[in-house]
């Protein structure tokens, strides 16, 4: 499946959408499909400073607990509260309603090491 064109991707299967000085982050369709039914998402606290590729939470499926990393550094300014009551939203809409948190880019957008849609598509096709 083609990856949405306006996103960047991490090798840990997160996506990031940069809009001005704010980045929205979620996990990819490939990631949600690999995990299976998602039953719990633990997100960082608003106001936390996070570093690129740092661990910021967990995503739990019926069988497994997986770390959630942030593909971009900055300050957590918003989290998706919908996921508390409906974590399966990540399965249904990984790139839309299933977004996880927003980061304010304090030092500009540091996107080094992130993959383009084509590069990510190649990664998951392997």
């Amino acid at each position: 499946m083609a990856q949405p064109g306006d996103l960047l991707f991490s090798k840990e299967h997160e996506w990031v959408k940069i809009d001005g000085d704010t980045a929205t982050i979620g996990i990819t369709d490939y990631a949600q499909n690999s995990l299976g039914d998602i039953v719990y998402v633990e997100l960082p606290r608003i106001g936390t400073q996070v570093e690129q590729y740092g661990s910021v939470g967990v995503v739990e499926s019926v069988k497994a607990v997986s770390d959630l990393f942030t593909p971009i550094g900055g300050e957590i300014v918003e989290i998706n509260g919908e996921l508390e009551n409906d974590p399966a939203l990540v399965n249904r809409e990984p790139f839309q309603g299933g977004w996880m948190f927003k980061v304010k880019l304090t030092n500009g957008a540091q996107t080094s090491g992130l993959l383009s849609p084509d590069e990510y598509e190649k990664l998951v096709a392997e």
Binding site: G36, D37, V39, V62
Partner: protein, 369 residues
């Protein structure tokens, strides 16, 4: 010569699992389907209609001879000698400390006994049984990996299976078994299962398994029968309060600790571990398996620590979200006696944070009929 890890074996239904898009994981020495579509969808099908499981990884042993029951009575906690032909019974092979080598089911057929052991314990149990055969006159044969085991589980199981069997399965009582046929193929049909629902386990020749599996799925597609994997099975059995070896029962955790007193017949003259179990039960100071319901959304997982106030009183042994328990997070825990009363408020530590939970009576789920 180079040493290689043994490749996972395949059940007779391996090709079907691949064709159905299953996610396969090595389990008990076999590549087994953990899920086909979704664990939660498969769970829902079993609770409301029916699911079809491949359990061919489980160890199937045949016991023959006049003294099987007397012999088995000395190695296990439950009564074997009182079983009638056509009866099935849950049992546990114990060590001298009362811990569990394995939990099993004995099926008494007209001529022989079928013993079904856990896949993860099949080799250990094969060795244990053989080590105890000398002088018993009991003959032991392994059908492991040769015979298949297909289970249909769910409230519609009778309706889905009855047209295709040579015997009246509706009349077969819970925990009874009969030699019959399914789609004209020889089968031992048992009304047993590990899901908390009505259902049947079909012991068939590996060569017949594909045909039976595919026919059942084809003929019951309209009725909602879907293949279900080991992931759904684990959620179903946990809700139903059934122990899983390695979690609620181990070489260290005894059947008394696991709350399986009903299966421990201390009135039997002798069996391995009897003295230890008697002493444990009468002293009544042992840590025990309890049910836990989490207050919030965070799932409790195996190994998480359980606290009563500031004191650590035990640990989680199994945990899952429970669609049949209002979608709460449920778990089993091995806890000290003073934390084991239903209603006790406890705390489960998850990644350094304390989450409230309550001790409850097992099982979490009981079907209505």
């Amino acid at each position: 010569m180079t040493m290689q890890a043994p490749a996972a074996k395949r059940t007779a239904l391996y090709d079907e699992h691949v064709r159905l898009g299953a996610r396969l994981i090595p389990f008990g020495g076999f590549d087994m389907p953990v899920q086909y579509s979704s664990i939660l969808k498969e769970h829902e099908a079993v609770r409301h209609r029916a699911g079809l499981f491949d359990l061919s990884h489980m160890g199937q042993f045949i016991l023959e001879g006049e003294n099987v029951a007397e012999w088995a009575d000395k190695l296990t906690v439950n009564a074997v000698s009182t079983m009638k032909p056509g009866q099935a019974r849950y049992n546990i092979f114990t060590n001298e400390r009362g811990g569990a080598h394995d939990d099993v089911i004995f099926y008494r057929l007209p001529e022989v006994w079928l013993l079904v052991v856990n896949a993860s314990n099949a080799e250990k149990m094969w060795a244990h049984l053989n080590a105890n055969l000398a002088g018993s006159g009991v003959k032991l044969t392994s059908l492991h990996g040769r015979n298949a085991l297909v289970a249909i589980q769910g409230p519609k199981s009778v309706e889905m299976l009855r047209k295709h069997t040579g015997v009246d399965i509706a009349a077969l009582k819970y925990y009874f078994c009969v030699e019959g046929s399914v789609y004209g193929k020889r089968a031992v049909i048992a009304r047993t299962g590990y899901t908390g629902e009505d259902g049947f386990e079909l012991f068939v020749d590996g060569a017949d398994a594909q045909e039976i599996w595919n026919n059942l799925l084809r003929d019951n597609e309209q009725g909602g029968l879907i293949p279900a994997g080991l992931g759904a099975r684990d959620v179903l059995r946990l809700e139903a309060g059934m122990p899983l070896y390695g979690h609620e029962l181990t070489e260290e955790i005894t059947p008394i600790q696991a709350g399986l007193d009903w299966a421990v017949k201390l009135g039997k003259p002798e069996f391995t571990g009897k003295a230890a179990l008697e002493a444990q039960k009468s002293a009544d100071e042992y840590a025990r398996i309890v049910g836990i319901v989490m207050d919030g959304r965070a799932p409790a997982r195996e190994g998480y620590h359980v606290f009563l106030g500031d004191r650590r009183v035990g640990e989680i042994r199994s945990g899952s979200i429970a669609p049949s328990v209002q979608n709460k997070n449920i778990a089993t825990a091995l806890v000290d006696k003073d934390a084991a009363a239903p209603g006790t408020p406890v705390v489960v530590h998850i990644r350094g944070t304390a989450y409230g939970a309550t001790v409850v009576q097992l099982p979490f789920y009981k079907r209505s009929q």
